[in-house]
């Protein structure tokens, strides 16, 4: 557990420790929401920076991971909003060309596409479970949900992903 009092006083050593304890969790959530490594890393850095700036207001009784993830979600949403206004050139579909999703896509791309079908909360849960290997109780603590709610989100997310893959990438599911 992190020493909140020392963190509040600005102890950089404690902060370093805290980052190494939590960075995987944050990366998982961030990548889960943004589905892009670079953006995910930027979001995590911004999150820690905000956290560090406002460390004096830290609640020693609160669940610090949940607080951190809340900051991260805000950062990610801001990024998503910005991104909505700027679509990458390769994301603009060529007119007249019918998309054929199954054409030679790498596994990573297929999984990313299947993840993109999910809702943001589902993506976070899938990411935390597969990236950080958390169980449903731990995920629930971070997101403020019960373990059974997490499980049911996870189940429906995985079902949707599977259906998407079976439908659009049948050779992948074989």
């Amino acid at each position: 557990m992190v020493d909140t009092e020392r963190l509040k006083k600005g102890d950089e050593e404690v902060f370093r420790e805290f980052v190494s304890e939590t960075e995987r969790l944050l990366m998982s959530v961030s990548f889960g929401i943004l589905l892009n490594s670079e953006d995910a890393r930027d979001a995590v850095q911004d999150t820690y920076l905000r956290f560090w700036r406002s460390r004096e207001r830290l609640d020693p009784n609160g669940y610090i991971q949940a607080y951190l993830v809340q900051i991260l979600r805000n950062v990610c949403f801001t990024m998503l909003k910005k991104r909505a206004n700027t679509v990458g050139i390769d994301e603009i579909p060529e007119p007249g060309k019918k998309e054929n999703p199954s054409s030679r896509l790498g596994e990573k791309e297929v999984i990313s596409r299947a993840m993109a079908v999910l809702k943001e909360k589902e993506r976070m849960i899938v990411a935390m479970i597969h990236y950080e290997n958390l169980d449903s109780t731990e995920v629930g603590m971070v997101l403020g949900l019960s373990a059974s709610t997490v499980r049911s989100h996870y189940q429906s997310a995985r079902t949707r992903m599977k259906n998407y893959i079976v439908r659009y990438f049948p050779e992948f599911a074989r």
């Binding site: 950089e12 902060f15 370093r16 980052v19 190494s20 960075e23 995987r24 990366m27 998982s28 990548f31 490594s37 995910a40 890393r41 995590v44 850095q45 820690y48 920076l49 560090w52 700036r53 596994e107 990573k108 297929v110 999984i111 990313s112 299947a114 899938v126 990411a127 479970i129 597969h130 990236y131 169980d135 449903s136 499980r151 996870y154 189940q155 997310a157 995985r158 079902t159 992903m161 599977k162 893959i165 079976v166 599911a173």
Partner: protein, 169 residues
Amino acid sequence: MNVMKCKEVQKLLPSFQRGLLDAEITKLVSDHLASCESCQEALALEHRVSDRLDAVFREEADSAAAVDIAEIVLKRSHSEKVSVYGGHTRLKLVYRFGAAAATVVLVLWLSSLFRNVSPVIEIGRVQEAPVRTAFLPESPVRTPEVRDVQRKSTVTKLKENVVWISYTN
């Protein structure tokens, strides 16, 4: 009695496969799986999806681990501090104060400008007639001061909005 149907089982397979279910339900699912081929197939598919998810995230984790986030964040925070206490903010404060002062001066100047405005009606252009009458538009709020810019004249107010101008020379 507690025999699960395929549909129920398949719904639970992702959680089952990740070991997220309670012991009791886990047992029910494995009992069903032992005797149901189609559910076994479904489980195999879930395993494949899950493995690929793991692989994608592992790749992300590896590339992210190469970066020392704490160091970057602390550096960014230090450079911010320098700018916060090192005059940057003070400069900003000066700007802000200056802008506020300028606004106050501007407002005072404008209000004084408007206070001095009294309805002056200037009758310009040469006109040879010794006298002339000016009809003022709409009765002004204050008594207008009327003067002829071209020549010396005396102005007599006849009515609220009519003046008599006679030229003195």
